[in-house]
Subunit: 350 residues, 2 copies
Amino acid sequence: MTTMSNRYQAEAGKNRPTMRHVAALAGVGIKTVSRVMNDEPGVSDATRQRVLGASQQLNYQLDMAAGSLRRTGRQTLSIGLLLPSVANPFSSEIHRALEDALAARGIAVFAASLDDDPEREKSLVAAFLGRRVDGMVLTPIARNQSYVIPEHSRDLPMVFIDREPVGIEADAVVTDNAVGAARAAAHLMAQGHTRVAYLGDRTDIQTARERRRGFIEELGRAGIATSTVPVREGLHNEDSARRAALDLLTAEEPPTAIFSSQNLITFGAMRALKELGASRRTALVGFDDFTLADMMDPGITVIAQHPERIGKLAAERLLARIDGDSSPAQTYVVPSELIQRGSGELPPVS
Amino acid sequence: MTTMSNRYQAEAGKNRPTMRHVAALAGVGIKTVSRVMNDEPGVSDATRQRVLGASQQLNYQLDMAAGSLRRTGRQTLSIGLLLPSVANPFSSEIHRALEDALAARGIAVFAASLDDDPEREKSLVAAFLGRRVDGMVLTPIARNQSYVIPEHSRDLPMVFIDREPVGIEADAVVTDNAVGAARAAAHLMAQGHTRVAYLGDRTDIQTARERRRGFIEELGRAGIATSTVPVREGLHNEDSARRAALDLLTAEEPPTAIFSSQNLITFGAMRALKELGASRRTALVGFDDFTLADMMDPGITVIAQHPERIGKLAAERLLARIDGDSSPAQTYVVPSELIQRGSGELPPVS
DNA sequence: TTGAAAGCGCTAACAA
DNA sequence: TTGTTAGCGCTTTCAA
């Protein structure tokens, strides 16, 4: 005991104190310290106070990693979140909603950015697994997610967001992409447009394909020959979208309305219209809402997604799985919403 | 040995395999598995292959937490990042730059949102510490950061961003708030403005006070009686800024130019100007750049911060500290930049 | 109410 | 080149 006191009590403040240091200083056993630090019952008030005092004096902090190593269930109270980019506004709102739902349970979030790189997806998932996260929320980008099947079978909770996974049956939370895009088509046709162009993202992205499908099919249902619909795809940034829009608008028989399938593409279309002085002549509906959309001239009509709802729902599903829910995997669809601001209500001008 | 084989090899796939399982399957000692998994030398090629095979067959994954528990230096390859909100565009760009710089070293990032709550700051820092992060990047909001002195003295690397910490000497990376605001003042005066209003954030925020000081002092240096400068402070969202701007602009002797000290305040000012039809009559310079600023009419002139540089620099400082740099704490200043887009170049109209 | 001993999955130190 | 033993900081188990 004297040895222990000497050994642990005397050590300088450079090294982080452990339970043994606290125990030695308080003159109790290490298990008693453990009980106090974890708010477990079975410790007298006097002892508890003594331990608390020692712990504060040493500035002691429980080591979660060491604890969860032995603890049954072995939870780390951390999860992994994989996003296209943490800097993407849509992603970061999902992130925020998730964080809020998980913070209530003391769960910390590892966030990482994919940058559309399938290899990164796999290595970031591996990094999460190596840190023994209690669950993962993933935006899939790789062709196939079957590489996580082993972990999923070991009951590691997993929720996919924005896009459904391929090759594995797991929970997913997605927007009604096709329905939303169809709504955009119907809205433009209701204003009298029949010549409506589609500006789309890279076709290897599932949501982009869904939006295209929903849009075109709705035009078809209204009797428009879908083969005549001007379609420009593979656009992945503002400038390629801008050029595609300029191209369409300066061709013969330009469209009287444009549907842009994503934020950056909408920005590109807006620029093209502005350059041509056609902002009040050509109708525009964009998928994804954005800051200041209502401050544009005219205001930009959009199909808004609800990232907060996606994040919240994903967190709820993840927590349910962590708590042992073993019902079959399911895809949850968060409805999008048409927000009229002017650009989508312009009548056709030929 | 037979016992071990039975015990570890036969277990079902539900439990995560450990090194012992791999060792048993490969017919080697556990330390050999450790060597292979950590790419350490001193293992014959044949043995290495056998271990690798067994590890893949079992879908084995090294447990970083368990490893770092014993490993000298005890690094977890994770850091904590505290932001006003992960959903704030300025914050999330810093986050992204940090992530990129740290990913190269295999370091994962715990991100959390403060929401201007000093209590949250402390509890989130405690959560990071309990997870034994290798370092922290913090946006301070509490009055005082002396509560982390014990950890800082134990050589836990820490870099403060956006605002300087109080009560502790630690590295910080900040924007030249006063200088940037002064640049806005000088720019507006160069257009001939003498009656310039200031719309500012809550005065308990250090950067808000700095911006105000820089702005007012620059007006004073030019001979403007600083007591006559119309100042509205304590604005913390778009609508309060909008109302303050409306108030100023509809009073007697309205300002001919406005400086707004932050993103949301700029949006509020823009709305007020639009409502009054004064967008082309009253000059506006905002602190903080934002998406589509150039698409407004007129384009919005701003003092742009450089979140990517702040994030990158913070990461560099953190890594240097993690690598043992023990030079005195220092504050690094990232210069802001005036971007002219039209709104700040309007001449005074009375 | 309290604490000693074992062991979580791994690496350090050392021996073979 | 390989393996054995101890032990990281903690919780579990069980005995006092």
